[in-house]
Amino acid sequence: MLKRRVAIQDFAAEARLFNSRAVVAILFVVLMFCVIVYNQYKLQVVLYQDYQTRSEGNRIKVVPLAPNRGLIYDRSGILLAENRPVFSLELVPEQISDMTATLAQLAELIELSPAQQDNFLKQVKAQRRFNSIALKEQLTDSEVAILAVNQHRFQGVTVEARLSRHYPFGDLFTHAIGYIGKINTRELQQLEADGEAANYAASRDIGKIGLERFYQRELHGTMGYQEVEVNNRGRLIRVLRSVPAVSGRNIHLGLDVGLQLTAQQILQQQRGAIVAIDPRDGAVLAFYSNPGYDPNLFVHGISSANYNELLNSSDRPLINRVTQGTYPPASTIKPHLALLGLETNTITPTTKIWDPGYFMLPNSDHRFRDHLRWGHGWVDVYQAVMKSCDTFFYEMGVKLGIDRISDYMSKMGFGEKTGIDIHEESSGIMPSRGWKRARHNQPWYPGDTVPLSIGQSYWTTTPLQLTVATALLLNKGVLPTPHLVTAFSDDNGSEAIAPVLTRTIDVVDERNWDVVMDTMHRTVRDVGGTAHRAFVGTNYEAGGKTGTAQLAAIAQDAEYDAETIDERLRDNAMYIGYAPYDKPRIVITIALENAGGGGANAAPMARQILDYYFAAGVNHDE
């Protein structure tokens, strides 16, 4: 019965029931829409700035632009380091339908090693399809020409040019200019520590040694950038803004290509260094260390075979002999010591001593021998320098004592770095009591002072140090800081570098300068002077001093015989010189390893350099 009654439906009640549910439903729908609107409001109004920023961050990428590295010129404007376009063969995988066929066709045109192809295919897998990937780098001119002619046959194959450092003179300037190479991890950390890393975002290379390293900041320039719009795959859509890079500053050197070539030619296979500076301002005119090496090998990463060859060569080409080679100065420092003798009244211009061919300390029978076995007889300071009498200086040195020698020579720059504008520099050794105690844990004996007085025993100098100390004599007490770079230039003009001149010595008697200069002048001018023969017939007046450094200890009564002694133990030949005599514009040092006597071997080379210097008029007009 009940069932029957229910079957007669109460339509009105059912409709009311449905309608109430429909009302609930529509209210729910409206409520949910309000939730959506509220959420939209939150995202699009409240957090709008946030999302706006993130959206811009998505689409805008900053692409750094590397600046062109500054160029390097010699003193007459000859290019020593340039940026040359190197060509590489690049392929865009996206545009190439059949990679295997394309590679095969390219291999018919130019030489492609399997290693190059494998490396390329690896890159293709690793990179995005629309990126241009290098197949072969450093194409030769003929390869570029072949590819240019066949360009039309290939889709997505291009020859790209980019700038790469090139040193047209090869090994001629290596030790001065140095080279650049790829930035390594340690250098990157240093750049970050210096706050410079951001400026290197697009740079691949950095100066490794020499001027390229010392002037890295000036040569590098300032990075530019492009703001580009990219899509989700990083493909460039358009350039929004572009700030060009500012090229590095060019640097101009005091070095002269002609002097360098002369130095290279006269040294040939001889290990050694030739350095010349202008004593008036410290500008370096010649800077050559032999043997050198080709810096271009390092620019694209040197092969380990080549590098090992350089590293293990017994001629040690990687050593910069001008600033890192430390040699006993030998007799070349006699003028310097003579000044000290005169200044301290240990000697006077007229003091004479008897040279029997040897010197003995009191209460000792050890003979310190003169290079002239039978002695020079009576000699004054002029004779002693000119003929390089050892006994005179033994005696004077002992009277001076180590302390006065060490102090005074330090003021002339011995035992100190010269402060030249490359980092590769040694300080040499100017021995003192303290030094010997620290180094050998021994007291200083009087017997140590004797060989020191002729620039032997512990005393070592670099050729550059010797040059600067000689310049000090010419400058009457003013020590020039040597510098390879004389000026910077860029689009806005050039800026000369002010010379750094420091007075380190004040003399008691100004006339002493003239005495010292005179001794060096006579060495060249007068018959019997150790450098006289080398400078016969010059059309300029020069001064100088020879030196011969013993490397092997010779027994008391034995004779030095170059023929019987091992080549590497033969004497080093040294020479310091300058010209013109009255107003010196160039001061030069020659250091030759195991070459023999300085007068016979080093002095003639100095003459050839000076001959060229005057013939070419290197810095005459200054």
Binding site: F18, I26, Y48
Partner: protein, 372 residues
């Protein structure tokens, strides 16, 4: 019943073809707006536009055809359709075509067919048929039977696996039970039961990728380049649109393809970015108009079957809208539901328009029957 609208409808020629004019206008406005957004979202791809227009044409035609079928006829066919649908679901599980890692398609030789689309209509229709064959409010055992009718196809579809669709189908059935006057106390009880069921769902029924989606939803930044990428880029697109938007065709997120699935599931983000909050309000307005109109039609339907079917279809339509917008704007996990009538894509659009056809049938045939 003699309100302003029936007056208008009588004068409308469209009424002859059982077309509800306001609903049609609302749908056409939405479709037009959607095509405009799609033009931009597809990257101005004319081939895609053409495909979408053809599909829309077919879908409108299907709607018109369904509008012609009398509600009584539909009611008669509800149960057979439901049973046939179940058979097809079983068939899919046995011989179904595997697409995108899921067995959803049945290859009929000349076309691929997704039986779950049929069930979107068949489940609410069958449940409505059963409930409406008794007086309202339904008794407990009616509800239990109705509920079972919802659950069986849900389980079958979730095995395909297609969790999103299965839940939506279950929801459509449950909406019928809700609209039929199921007591609030029972609703609260079922809600509690569902809550208790969630851990079971998480542990045993969900696949890894589904769990991942939920985890990503809870913290999208945890995996910004992986599964969180979609939702992060989508929120950036929406947020950076601001009030006015970046301008039609000028959305950087969408045009530069930072936004994934920009023409399908995430088209709402394109709209938000290019047309801003204003565009969003316009879209929501259109959806609200269509939903309101449909509920009005349902409440005016003469018989319970029509009311329940029309009401259920309407609410299901709303759920699509809400779930899509919710997932695109980060309110809900990503479940792969398209934005109705706007997203690019086929089958579901036809099903949807068929449902609107049924609603129109319910709305228009009622008046004809009511006329003396």
């Amino acid at each position: 019943m003699n309100d302003q609208f029936t007056g208008n409808a009588r004068h409308s020629r469209l009424a002859t073809f059982h077309i509800d004019t306001p609903l049609l206008l609302g749908l056409l406005a939405l479709i037009g707006f959607g095509l405009m957004v799609l033009y931009s979202a597809s990257g101005q791809n004319m081939a895609m536009m053409k495909g979408q227009m053809v599909r829309l044409g077919v879908a409108v035609a299907v709607m018109v055809i369904f509008a012609q079928i009398k509600p009584q006829t539909l009611k008669r066919w509800s149960l057979p359709l439901f049973i046939a649908g179940l058979g097809l679901l079983v068939a899919v599980l046995l011989v179904g075509h595997v697409g995108k890692g899921a067995q959803r398609w049945l290859d009929l030789g000349f076309m691929k067919f997704q039986p779950s689309e049929v069930m979107k209509l068949a489940v609410p229709m069958a449940v409505a048929w059963f409930i409406a064959s008794h007086s309202l409010p339904p008794k407990l055992w009616h509800l239990v039977v109705g509920f079972i009718m919802c659950v069986i196809p849900t389980i079958l579809i979730s095995q395909q696996p297609d969790l999103g669709t299965s839940i939506l189908i279950a929801t459509a059935g449950v909406f019928v039970l809700f609209l039929s006057g199921m007591s609030w106390r029972l609703i609260a009880f079922v809600a509690a039961l569902v809550s208790a069921f969630l851990p079971v769902l998480w542990l045993f029924l969900m696949h890894d990728y589904q769990r991942q989606r939920v985890l990503t939803f809870l913290n999208p930044e945890s995996d910004p380049l992986g599964s969180g990428y979609h939702i992060i880029q989508s929120k950036i697109a929406i947020g950076s649109g601001g009030v006015d938007g970046k301008g039609y065709l000028h959305g950087t997120q969408s045009q530069l393809e930072f936004l994934p699935e920009r023409h399908t599931d995430f088209i709402f983000a394109v709209l938000s970015e290019e047309l801003g909050l204003m565009g969003v309000l316009l879209l929501l307005g259109l959806y609200l108009f269509i939903i309101s109109r449909c509920l009005l039609i349902a409440s005016r339907a003469r018989d319970n079957y029509g009311k329940l079917v029309a009401g259920s279809f309407t609410l299901t339509f709303f759920v699509y809208v809400f779930v899509n917008i919710g997932m695109v704007s980060g309110l809900l996990p990503v479940v792969g539901v398209p934005l109705p009538l706007v997203s690019f894509g086929g089958t579901s659009m036809v099903t949807l328009m068929a449902a609107f056809g049924v609603i129109m049938s319910v709305g228009t045939h009622k008046r004809m029957l009511a006329a003396p």
